[in-house]
Symmetry: D2
Subunit: 135 residues, 4 copies
């Protein structure tokens, strides 16, 4: 099962060339992960980061951009858990427009970390279970 | 010859986990390109984008993150033109800290575009010459 | 009638001190205006900016910050059209947290502009009507 | 004595209407403060925030915007310490363009805070001395 969300492009995601700035597109990998965790864990990703000091920092990202995104476009973001390791997760993400055009793909890999270090740690069981729904 | 710049991490590049947010790191690929063009072209990248309506949108990016960056760290960014095609450019970028620790690598590929379309076009000769200095 | 929206604080709205960065709070004045226009005008604010090249740039803003906002907090934003002039609009905005604490106030004044100039112009009638619902 | 810095408008400070987004302009009040402290205190503002957990969150800001800023413009920012209280500081900031046009004014008030609370505290003596140079 994949996780899908839709939202308009934000006014401040546009750059001086008139299109969505590419770092704002790769950030959609993170936004999808946050929303995914929010579906399954009370308090969402914030509860992990702020209260338990467990985070999922990005260790690798790769992205291809095929069609432009402008202010006024609707983003359609579909994310799947492609690999669920002991302490890392890979998400495959497709970014499209509301009119059906495929705009970008993102391969997004995070590692579970104790934020105090930061140091690597195993994924907590409840976080793993939350993500496994989208594997 | 590679192009190198140094600057402090900005206050607003930090995320809720306390480290530089990864999209801010991939954006350093763009910042290096802009600064590189600024060295060689009068008016810099802005003159291309605003006056000539020629841009270099990102078509591919890949990045690995190895060590954290915090507020207070100095960024040391080294960028090389790894491939200079007819209408595209690949930059290989290393991101380190002032204390010498290697933090991230970025492979950053842009295509030359008429921004009015946007549509692909050949790199203008003077822009190509500016980038060739760092090949 | 006031316009109200709720959303979680975003991961990238936090600064290096651990709280929502104050420019992200004043930006809520703009976000409320955009959402307000989106309720009443087909295509929302983007249709004005992109297609008609009419915008509402900020000419004045004043803001007081009373209580901190953190990652994990829910924003509750209430905006009212306090003054609707020929070519300008003043919004009074209250920013609170989901737990009921009042965090900030924003007085946000925009002027209607032909973006091509930019130059001042009268508010188009349909845009005025959209905003008058919240006066 | 006032504190002055110059830098180009950044690519990602432009919004969908084609001008510098107003929250990026009010953020220049903070940037000027950071650079001011960086002149006088080893480690700059980051040493305060990260090591000593003392910050200067904004409690009030007011800003007027008179002329537009575009990609390609040079920012000229002049900041003065207008009032230095026991636990608060008011900065008066002028934002101009490299061509001499006055674009914006910012009145920017911060309160000294123990970030752990956050709770109000007196300005540390060395921080006060650093700021007093620009009073």
């Amino acid at each position: 099962m994949s996780f899908v969300f839709r939202r308009p492009v934000r006014f401040d995601e546009i750059d001086a060339a008139g299109y969505v700035y590419f770092p704002k597109i790769v950030a959609l990998g993170h936004e999808a992960m946050e929303r995914m965790i929010g579906e399954a864990c009370p308090g969402g990703y914030a509860a992990w980061v702020v209260e338990r000091r467990v985070g999922l920092p990005c260790v690798h990202v790769e992205s291809d951009f095929r069609a432009p995104l402008r202010f006024g476009d609707e983003l359609v973001v579909e994310s799947t858990v492609a690999k669920l390791g002991d302490s890392s997760v890979r998400f495959d993400v497709k970014v499209g427009r509301g009119d059906g055009v495929a705009c970008a793909t993102i391969g997004y890999v995070v590692a579970c970390a104790d934020l105090a270090g930061p140091s690597k740690r195993a994924l907590p069981d409840d976080l793993r279970a939350a993500l496994a729904r989208y594997a």
